[in-house]
Every structure is written in C-alpha cells, then in structure tokens.
C-alpha cells in the first residue's frame, strides 16, 4: 500500500510548476507523438532511422544542460568534457574487455558513471569554491579545452590504456557497437531499428524522470537557487549540494550522450571536446527554450535536423543561413522557438476565431 501511494506521488511530479504541459491535452499529445515515433521505422529507410538515432544521441546532453543551466542557472560551457570522457571511457572499456556477455552495456553504465564522477569532482571544486556566473562558464570551458588539447597530442603508441590506443587527434576507433547477448549469436546494435527503439526508450525514460526531478522538492530548490542563491541559502538549503547534484546529473547525461555517440559511430575524437562543439549544446538549448525540458528536447531535435538539412541542401550558403536563423529567431522568441512557434500558432488561432466570430 505505501509503495503504491509513493508511486502515485512520484507520478504526480510528472506535472508541476517547473514543466510546461499538463492535463489530458498535453499527455494525449505526448502519447500521440510517442506512438508516431514508435511506428516511424516502419515507414522510414535505414538511413533515416539511423540518422534519427544520431539526433537522439545529442538530446541527452541538451536535457542535462537544461537541468544545469535552464533550471539551476549555472551556465556550463564545458558539457562536452563529460561527453568526451564518457565516450573515451566506453572505447577503452570495450576495446579492452570486448563486447561479449553484454559487456557493452556494462561499459555504457560504467562510462556514464565515470563522467558523473568526474563531474562530481569538478563540481565540488566549482560549487564549494563558490564559483558562479561567467566564471563557471570559463572554468568549464577551460577544462574541456585542456582535455581536447591533451588528447590531440596522444597520437604516439605510448598513449594507451590497456590495449586501447588513444590515437590523438585522429580519434579512437574500433570500439564495438552496443551488443545484446543472444543465444543464437549476439545482436549488434548498428544504427538501425533495434538501436532506434533502445535509444528512444532511454530518451523517453530520461525525459520523464527529469520531469519528476524538476518538479520535486529538489527541483524547487534548484530554480530557487537560479533566482536568488542568497535567499535560497537563507531558507536553510545548502545550495552548494543542490547545485552539485544538478551538475552531476546533467553531466552524467552529457556522458550518456558521449557513450551513445561513440557506440553509434564506433569513433570518438578530441574535437568533440573543442570550442565549436562546446558551443553547440548551448545553442540547441537556448534556441529551444532552456527553462523547460520539453522545449529543450523539441528545440534540440529541431535545430539538429534543421541545420543538417540546411547543410545538405544549402551547400556553402548553409552556414550563412544557419547564422541568419539564429540571429532572427532568438531576439524574436524570448522564451525559445518552441514557445515562440506555439504562441504564434495560438495567436493565429485566436485571430481566426475572432474573424469567424465576426
């Protein structure tokens, strides 16, 4: 009985002041979108399915940054550090210990935990040192750039962990894809339908879990710290712990992105921790609407797909067009494009209703 009610109260946290969207309308929409996502592979070719898995891979990092920045108010410019650390960790683990007996999944968990541990150490250093604002951004950026520069020069054979060569700027390859042990022979999850469902399931799980986190007591404190850290502390909260908690969870998600990306392409490179890559999550999250998980998620997928499409069809004008999109949409949509599009839509609806009424 008590477990029942605690499950109930946990589920109640799926809605709350910290997340947009509530009530039957939202959840039916959610179910429809999820159902569409589930039947999508039936109608798409292998490329589209694999490509969508690739987009999903990045969404975890974006959701994590939304938690740290959008909810917690701490702009980390270096989430790519955790992405990279976890990606390399997955590579090192699986190259050394192989892919049998489901070890790739053990590696996925371990690599994510390694990223979380790294975030815990760095976060302790940051938050318990009372570093905030841009200072936090620059320290995290510096960390990711140090990792990038260091990893770039590990081309020599002396740089190896076990049998895994770090392989410098060219990047580490040859790690196995995620592999499910199976009686009749292991199932290797190439970027295809099974991997699609796996990643989608993970994404839905993480999204729902994060909704519960941000609407919980913990989430309340996190937004309180964003609004006014001094007041939050004067309500008796040890704000450093909460900031650290948010940072570790968000960074673990960046790590998860890193693992999934590495397993997806069998490749991880120091460039994925560089300046340009570090700026990308910030762009996705800011464009989508950073202070809500749903807008972050949708915005990230939209930006990723949009920019890729532009690159495919825009040739060398693609970058100019992307730039224009950012320059135009961000000032026009203060709470992100998702809400911007939403309110445009509802305004249009209202206007039409008004016209019909007349």
């Amino acid at each position: 009985m008590p477990s029942h009610s605690s499950l109930g109260s946990a589920l109640r946290l799926l809605e709350g002041p910290q997340t947009l969207g509530k009530g039957p309308a939202f959840w039916s929409g959610f179910v429809v979108v999820l159902a569409l996502a589930c039947i999508y592979p039936l109608f798409a070719d292998g490329y589209d399915v694999g490509n969508n898995v690739y987009f999903f891979n990045w969404a975890f990092m974006a959701l994590g940054l939304s938690l740290i920045w959008g909810y917690g108010g701490a702009l980390s410019f270096g989430q790519t550090a955790f992405f990279g650390v976890a990606g390399y960790a997955y590579g090192v683990l699986t190259i050394n210990f192989g892919d049998a007996y489901g070890f790739t999944f053990v590696s996925l968990v371990l690599a994510t935990l390694i990223a979380a541990l790294f975030a815990a150490v760095l976060g302790y250093f940051l938050f318990f040192g009372r570093i905030s604002g841009v200072f936090l951004g620059i320290v995290t950026l510096s960390v990711t750039l140090v990792l990038e520069r260091f990893m770039s020069q590990t081309a020599g054979p002396e740089w190896h962990i076990g049998s895994a060569r770090l392989n410098g700027f060219n990047g580490m390859g040859n790690m196995p894809s995620l592999t499910i042990p199976w009686p009749g022979g292991d199932v290797v999850l190439y970027p295809d339908v099974p991997l699609y469902y796996l990643t989608l399931a993970l994404l839905v799980l993480v999204y729902l879990a994060l909704r519960m986190v941000v609407n919980s007591r913990f989430g309340n404190v996190l937004v309180a710290i964003r609004e006014n850290p001094q007041r939050a502390e004067m309500l008796g909260y040890d704000i450093r712990r909460y900031q650290l908690g948010g940072f570790v969870v968000g960074s673990a998600l960046a790590g998860l992105s890193g693992v999934l990306y590495t397993a997806w392409g069998n490749y991880i490179t120091p460039s994925s921790m560089g300046m340009t890559q570090a700026a990308l999550p910030i762009v996705w999250v800011a464009v989508g609407g950073r202070s809500d998980l749903t807008t972050t998620l949708l915005g990230t997928l939209l930006v990723l797909a949009g920019f890729q499409a532009l690159t495919i069809y825009g040739s060398q004008y693609a970058l100019v067009a992307m730039g224009f999109l950012l320059v135009v949409t961000v000032p026009a949509a203060p709470s992100g494009i998702i809400i911007g599009i939403g309110s445009l839509f509802s305004r249009g609806l209202k206007r039409r209703k008004a016209r019909e009424a007349r």
Binding site: A224, E227, Q230, A232
Partner: protein, 239 residues
C-alpha cells in the same frame, strides 16, 4: 541562556571599522530592536549573525552554541530566519511557489497547500498568488519576504526594516504580527527607523553608532537620551 549573544564582535571593510567590539545579548522570547543612524552597521550586524560575512574577531553564540564559523544554511536550520533590508525573493517564480519553497521542508501535500493559503491571506497577497514575484510592488515584495521568513517557523526572527514603505496602519499590523509570533515563543530582533513601530514592539532597544553599542535600554529610556536624540532621532523623534 541567551538566545543570541555576541562577544567582542569585530568587522572591518578595508579601513572601515563597521562592527566594533560589539557585545550584544538577547533573551529567548524577547523582542529586541536595533536602531541607529544610517551606516551604523545594523545590517552588517545581521549579516554577521547570518554568516553572510565572517567576523574579523569575536564570537557569535546562538542558543548556547558557538556559530561564529557555521555556514549560513546551518544557522537557518538551527532556527534563525531573516527578512533582509532589500527584499530578496525568487523573481521569476510565482508568489505561491516562493512560499512553497520556504515551506516544503516542513510540510507536504495537503497541509502544505493549506499553510500556503493561510500565509497568502495573512500577507494580503491572495490576489497576487499567481503573479510572478518580480512583478509585485515594492511593499508587496516586502510582505512576501516577511512571509518566507516566518514560514520557516524560526526561533529567532531577524527583521531588517520590515515596515519600510508601509502605511501607518500596515506598520501597526506588522507590529501586531510580531507580537503574535512573540506570543508563540519566537524571539525577534528588528532593525527599524520607524519609532512608532519600535515603541509598539520593542521590549528592549540597542542603539548602534559607528559600529559600537551606543546605548541600550527600554524605548522610553532611549527616547529620553539626549545623546541618541542628537545623533539619531532629531527634534520630533519622540513618536
């Protein structure tokens, strides 16, 4: 045993001696007012008690324990709570949520909502419950901040100019609120420039001047003190 006591408390800002060897003490259940000229160091004294600043010397004792080096949140958890001079609320959150964050550690579910409603009523913010706190008027922000401070059910409540910007009636109501809390056993230390308010609530008054304890006594003693009149109250100070 004193609820709050400081011994030889010292604070320097560069060359400025802002808190100068302050020995202060108040008893449990007391309503104590701290007054003094602008810049006397009243707010700084609060910040020292709260751990926002660390003192350069001296000790702070709360409820018998030495909290001189304790972290702010630890002091709050021990039962101190504060309304700052400049309201510090969660601007982008709704009024209701501001209160929820203050209350959620003690209450949950239905009783949490009830308590929030009760507080909103009391703070005259019922109509503004769904408004973003940042869009409240100055006075409403002060009320909200007071509400968050008392929501913690403190043993010692620090109020830095709680009635600034309030009408005489509102000031009086605030005084009654303080008295009601005090009747429930809350000790109150308030900074005020409004002598009517001080007269209404204070059981004892301490005057700070240039960071030092300048005078101490009942409100009548203080008002009668010509030195205090000279530095602080002026001609019509005897409210």
């Amino acid at each position: 045993m004193a609820i709050l006591q400081t011994r030889g408390l010292d604070k320097w800002f560069g060359g400025l001696h802002v808190t100068d060897n302050v020995d202060f003490s108040m008893q449990p259940g007391e309503v104590h007012c701290l007054i003094g000229p602008n810049g006397a160091g009243k707010s700084t004294f609060f910040r020292l008690v709260l751990g926002e600043h660390l003192p350069n010397g001296g000790a702070i004792l709360y409820d018998g324990a030495d909290i001189t080096r304790a972290k702010s949140y630890q002091r709050i958890r021990r039962g101190i709570s504060v309304k700052f001079q400049v309201p510090g609320i969660f601007k982008a959150l709704k009024v209701r949520q501001n209160l929820q964050i203050a209350l959620q550690d003690h209450l949950s579910g239905h009783s949490l909502n009830e308590e929030i409603d009760r507080l909103l009523e009391f703070l005259k913010l019922k109509d503004a419950a769904g408004q973003l706190a940042g869009s409240l008027s100055h006075g409403q922000k002060q009320w909200l901040e007071i509400g968050m401070a008392i929501a913690l059910k403190p043993k010692l409540l620090l109020l830095d100019e709680p009635t600034a910007g309030m009408t005489p009636d509102e000031t009086h109501a605030t005084g009654e609120m303080v008295q009601a809390l005090n009747a429930d056993g809350v000790s109150v230390l308030a900074v005020e420039h409004d002598m009517a308010f001080v007269r209404q609530i204070a059981q004892r008054v301490t005057v700070l001047h240039f960071g030092r304890v300048f005078a101490q006594g009942t409100i009548d003693e203080i008002v009668a003190d010509e030195r205090v009149a000279a530095i602080y109250l002026g001609e019509t100070g005897h409210a």
